[in-house]
Symmetry: C2
Subunit: 329 residues, 2 copies
Amino acid sequence: MAVGVAIVGATGLVGRTLLRLLHERRFPVRELRLFASERSAGTVLEWCGERLRVERFAPERLRGLELSLWSAGAELSRQYAWEVARRDCLVVDNSSAWRAHPEVPLVVPEVNPEALQQHRGVIANPNCVVIPLTMLLKPILQRWGIRRVVVATYQSISGAGQRGIEQLQAELRGEEPPVRVAPWGIAFTTAFHRLDAEGWSEEERKVVAETRRILGQPQLPITATCVRLPTLGAHAEAVWVETEQQPELEMLRRHLGQQPGMVVLDEPAAQRYPHPAQARGSDSVYIGRLRRDDSVPAGIIGWIVADNIRKGAATNAVQIAELLLFGGH
Amino acid sequence: MAVGVAIVGATGLVGRTLLRLLHERRFPVRELRLFASERSAGTVLEWCGERLRVERFAPERLRGLELSLWSAGAELSRQYAWEVARRDCLVVDNSSAWRAHPEVPLVVPEVNPEALQQHRGVIANPNCVVIPLTMLLKPILQRWGIRRVVVATYQSISGAGQRGIEQLQAELRGEEPPVRVAPWGIAFTTAFHRLDAEGWSEEERKVVAETRRILGQPQLPITATCVRLPTLGAHAEAVWVETEQQPELEMLRRHLGQQPGMVVLDEPAAQRYPHPAQARGSDSVYIGRLRRDDSVPAGIIGWIVADNIRKGAATNAVQIAELLLFGGH
């Protein structure tokens, strides 16, 4: 039952975390091959005591492997994902390339595992804001109904990858960063993802479209403002959910605490709540600050935090692979 | 027409900014006296080339002065504001002590200057989130009507005063901070203001209550989540305004740009938007990211940024004093 696995984009933040997760989760690996762009090929990464040399990606080089985990950008995925899938190598793609495609399931294992039954070899891993958000919304949707969702994000600059972290570190040292992913700086200030001419970031459009798709609610009224911060370790989200029925708060806390992968951390009198430094390195989605929203007939307010590189990306991808290959792990 | 002025709480972040503003705005000062707690008394501050020694506060020491600007915490204001006001020294109080009192006007000069006509000697300066928020909401309320407001704040840790900045700086140096205003840290993470047993922070309750009062809309549906960040220079707010009529975006931009004290900085295609480092040191409220909210029948989304120590506190207080004494300046 051991599997030949490729990591495509192995030298990036998510790629390196995928490597670590295969070990941590005792994923049954027969053979592990690492791929990256020409620029990063030749890099040596350690895995379980072995030293693995990163190869330049080419689709034919994945021959004989059953699974590939991709985190190398949308362009590469758009170009090669189906070519690799046609050769019986499953593609779990962390990029946004195929997330809207009707023949590509977009999956959060705790939320819509049934979507995997329809796959044709390529499976899309959702956006890092969307994964924790749908994990909060699904149990609310099923039990109390949802009328509208408002989301304000508090995202780590690590969402822009290693370059984002390097920009923050350089600015904190008072140096010019090698690359600017936040055009006006990120140390001590906020930034937005690249905006289009209509005033929206692609990130905000993803939150709307992917959340609707995963929840199976194509008309769900949902609106988002996505903000990048000089934080590390996790993304946070302030969420307002207008519901059909008013959830009783203690019941809501109990219900959310029973969901797989979710941890309720909500003891206001003790000042206990989730925050990025606390959630760093965890695979759980943390929820706190649960309050009744008195500005609507029925609604609740919450605050979710999850490691954007792990559950927001790499962990979710490995969970998808586990479901596909072993029906859970 | 020159005035005898006291600054109560002169050594704090807001106090020092008040000192600077009296000079910058050429406030007609006849005599300037500085007061602080016993701990800070004796500190020497420079003002217009003069060296001023900070005195220990006692209400009788303000005798003969016509104006006092207070930023020394709610407890001192609760205890002494009226005693000072009764001796014909106007009190403009930056603390939250009197903001809900029916005989104390709560004033943003650009929004509800008429409230000053009813004063009895004590005037309250609103919360730093509320001042820019009401400046955005008032023109929308008057022209398009408001049904509900959702606010997510992105607040500088400087809102906790010099101690907040020192905690951030110490953590960035890898040192234990002298005082923890953010119990779980603030460098690279987020924090909340102190939460009560119901799960709300006083800051969030202030945003609701003070916004309603200043806008004269005691029933306005409004909800807030207030978050502290490792940012400096300004607070930011993501705001969703459900309106009665749908504002046309270009008209909204033009209308907001005509409001005193407000600057529209909203060129998404050029990635131009307000952010804390950009607004630092300015007395303006910046608005950007204006978008139509498609999740409601009529509504807009915006992003406001304002220097929390200046327009969010000190500048607004000096503007109130100018209106009181000179009918504007």
